[in-house]
Chain length 134, copies 4
């Protein structure tokens, strides 16, 4: 699992651009974290939905790829329930809820440092036949 | 409209971080563009879903705020149908399909330079009573 | 709560058409049940996604209306992870995950008699200012 | 195509229960219709989201199966933008926007007799290797 965590932490260049940390990867689970900085703000000066989404998507990708087979996102939905502010620390926890030969479904809860729900994300991935090149 | 376009182009810091351009804003419409660079790649070396999402979300935000009243994203769904590659130029075209006093719904199609659909996004926004501070 | 449960059980005519039972309603929660019959089948002779959705939506409606203020569905997403068969007993458990003055978000898990996840639903409701006419 | 239309019209038992008509099926397209009756109402006496969803899902199923290979719904999202009333005639028009060997994506617009958008639906289907048993 540490190999897979390191692979995503090092090779996911958008996650690096945005300063995301991949804290843990388990069987069908993953946890990622970011601190909302200036570069993540939207025009209303809150944390951008695109940054929150990208953090959730990063945890989702690690979770559905944790089995060692390449899985790619095909559909995701997200509800935004609290606007994060600059300085907030957001943690995305991903947990697979269905795993089929071709399809995986994963829930991701994004919470702030107070434990408040910021966004609820669900993603569906298509599992290819080739291995993840870790 | 040019004021609103300039407001989003200048004040949306995530869009600046990711190199997005807001090409046009009309009544309930907007068009944004990006060139997929290294910084936008995922661990599989394609364009990251988070970058594609953020581009679509940027066009969506401009479109639902084009009426001059502050509107914030509350829910979005996206289907990813083609993986973009480094160097691809992606254009997101947003078009409002419903506009109520409190709620707006907007479709965004993201296409590459060949005109192929990369992702189909739908967003719902909650319209606040205060004006956009343009 | 029993008043609200009875109100939905009696007044939701689609739920009656489709033979749904509303088992329980709590603060921001609800549980509904159906047995998959011939009338719920799709052209491939499995339980129809429309029936599974309607059951989840019924539990969602009861949960977000449990506070006594009228709330209407504005957006829902559902992932179908196991095809139900004729004779299966499906239970939808709804649980609110966010409650704001105007917006509520609710997760619904639909499971069969073996406890297997059939579908995962998330709904967003707009809360009107008027009371539920129970 | 008429064979496929007839197959869905005859074999989709939920569609029969709810009085849906499948008007047309083309390559990646379909059109279905219903008149909102008492049996389709929710507890607030408007057309039930479950009925609108089921109509959209019916058109979606016909459209993604129009190529003759069995396709099953795996994920759908729907935004509800106008509450239909008893007596309203709803038409769901489905149009595939992506077709891959394994995955198809389809938009469905549901409109009332005035042409007003009632709901906007997007569905993703998984295409199995076996033929549709028409």
């Amino acid at each position: 699992m540490e190999k897979i965590r390191k692979f995503f932490q090092d090779k996911d260049l958008l996650a690096r651009t945005l300063g995301f940390e991949l804290l843990e990867v388990g069987e069908g689970t993953a946890k990622a974290r970011m601190t909302v900085g200036q570069m993540h703000l939207n025009a209303a000066s809150s944390g951008h939905g695109g940054a929150t989404f990208s953090l959730a998507d990063f945890a989702f990708a690690a979770a559905v790829n944790s089995h060692g087979r390449l899985a790619v996102a095909i559909q995701t939905s997200i509800s935004f329930v609290k606007a994060p502010l600059e300085g907030d620390v957001l943690t995305a926890e991903a947990r697979e809820i269905a795993l089929h030969p071709k399809i995986a479904v994963c829930d991701v809860a994004v919470r702030d440092q107070a434990g408040d729900l910021v966004a609820s994300f669900q993603g569906m991935a298509y599992r290819k036949s080739r291995e993840l090149p870790v």
